[in-house]
Amino acid sequence: MAIAKAERLMNLALCLMNTRRPVSKRELRASIEAYHEVTSDDSFNRMFERDKDDLRELGLVIDTVENLDGEYGYLARSDRNRLPDIALDPEEAAALALAAKVWQQARLAEAASGALQKLRAAGVPYEDTHSALEPRIPTPEPAFEALMLATRERRAVAFDYRKANAVRPEPRQVEPWALECWRGHWYLAGYDRDRGAVRVFRLSRISGRVKARGAFTVEVPAHVDVREAVARWAGEGATTTATIRLRRDSGYPLRARAVATTPVDADWDELEVPYGHGLDAWLAEFGPDVVVLAPQELRTEVLDRLRAVAKG
């Protein structure tokens, strides 16, 4: 079944590429054997439209031209489909081949190898890229593909989204601007229509299908910084500090981040650490090896966590 379709797509592509004048749907139907098997006009029309879409997804530019009788003809002009000359030296080719392996998401992984195939067909040298370095982009959440296409085509979307502490997901309408993968997780930044403001969404909190919601209504800014917003939640970019007591020889990551460390006695040190979002949860992890001295609100938050765990 799959072979039959590839053969049909190949025949359609070659016909469209090798003609100098637009070829009508009728001519294509008569010329391509796979279409003879389709008896009803409706099924043929549906199949033909799908086939054209598939070829366009592969990068083929297919022009639609109306002739004097009002009949549509199709052709893939060679000047519009030719890859411009590209000359990569072996070093550049090898670097690109290494980068092409990063995708684990099926659609982009296939696209990356398809791109390399086109480049190699165009004469880019093939370099055997054995490298001790293996960067991998984690397989993104199910919503990724629909959001990538909507972002590229500037189409608004609707989806169900569960905020960090929400009991239930709620519907959101978003004009998607940019997708970014940071620390192994994918985020979407865009204009939230209901809130009338820019919002960042974590893809893993989107549930169900991503639905289409028409064209953008708000202008896309020239620069969209997803990471800045996300890093703030992750506690980075803190402007104030907290004072804690830390047991000697414990809490290395706290020590690595501390702006000041003073020994107190034989067992304890006093540390000044950046106070960003999420510090309370992090400090609670160290249990009896950390005592928060200031500020008071942080002390209260940590105590609150510890009391909840002590109650069991």
Binding site: L14, E91, E92, V167, S204
Partner: protein, 318 residues
């Protein structure tokens, strides 16, 4: 293996490739296209069924004896054999990947420069198909100087000494490691043979407190690299089971911890079942969760977390 669209994509490029290289070897073509020889032969069986014109009759005359590939009518197929422009997906996939890797802290400068040059040329050649790549970006986190040291150790086949932080024990240990490879999945890791545990170990670069190249040669045993597509942590079937119940504010646990099941609870929370070789390492998680979740079983681990919290409260005079 590959679906009809990917096969079509490949066959279109094959037409171009083969025309320029009469008598090409099956093995070389398969390597250049990143497919098995069997897959390539599959493509070569389809190509002679493809016509080059809507008038019919002119089929691609491509054949193979299993070792070399010949094309007998290249002259008649000028327009179908030209190199094809990149699709939006293709340009996006390559450009985003090239930028992400080029920005990896610690990458050798010659590799970075080569990637940046390739990216610029590719962007120019892709034309408007490159447009979609601007909305997609990937950042690999890495400790540049640690990365560069590990990279050098691998290239020069030298052993590494490091002081490494283990969050589960909240302790630093000194180890000697024969590095095998570096990989980045969000964070960057080095996989190597740990001489302390005489076992394969994975170290996250941002947990390396100190690192030095040793003069001893690196001599890791020959081991199959781990398959990263299944995730970093792959619990074994006989690891002890841990059950954690979280409220809505603790749902993130299911995103960060590989688990066997995560069942919805009526309050919007989750009941998560996971397996780990070392349940004690989850004590930190229990303390962090506070009122957002608790360990249900094993009872020993739940008791551990409770005791730690009581002890910690004593530090505040409670």
């Amino acid at each position: 293996m590959s679906n009809a669209i990917d096969q079509t994509r490949r066959m279109l490029s094959l037409v171009t490739y083969l025309r320029e290289r009469p008598g090409a070897r099956v093995s070389e073509v398969a390597r250049a296209f990143g497919v098995s020889e069997a897959e390539l032969i599959g493509d070569l069986n389809v190509l002679p069924l493809c016509g080059t014109s809507f008038r019919g009759g002119d089929l691609l005359d491509i054949d193979t004896d299993g070792e070399r590939i010949w094309w007998h009518n290249p002259g008649t197929a000028d327009d179908v054999a030209q190199p094809l422009r990149l699709a939006a997906d293709e340009a996006t996939a390559l450009l985003v990947a090239a930028r992400a890797v080029a920005n990896l802290p610690g990458l050798r400068d010659s590799d970075r420069q080569a990637l940046l040059r390739a990216g610029t040329k590719l962007e120019a050649a892709a034309g408007e198909a490159a447009g979609g790549s601007a909305q997609l970006s990937v950042t690999f986190e890495s400790e540049g100087s640690v990365f560069a040291t590990v990279d050098r150790a691998i290239t020069e086949r030298r052993r590494l000494w490091m002081r490494y932080y283990s969050p589960a024990r909240d302790a630093l240990t000194e180890r000697e490691v024969d590095p095998i490879r570096l990989f980045a999945v969000g964070h960057t890791y080095v996989e190597g043979w740990c001489r302390l545990s005489e076992d394969r170990r994975t170290f996250r670069l941002d947990r390396v407190a100190e690192i030095r190249l040793l003069d001893e040669p690196s001599d890791p045993p020959r081991i199959e690299p781990r398959d990263l597509s299944q995730g970093l942590v792959q619990p074994a079937g006989d690891d002890p089971e841990v059950v954690i119940e979280v409220g809505p504010g603790g749902r993130w646990v299911a995103e960060y911890y590989p688990h066997d099941s995560a069942d919805e609870l009526p309050d919007g929370g989750l009941r998560i079942t996971l397996r780990t070789p070392d349940p004690g390492s989850l004590r930190r998680l229990a303390l962090r969760l506070g009122r957002d979740g608790r360990i249900v079983s094993p009872a020993e681990l739940a008791g551990d977390a409770r005791d730690a919290a009581v002890l910690a409260l004593a530090g505040y005079g409670e």
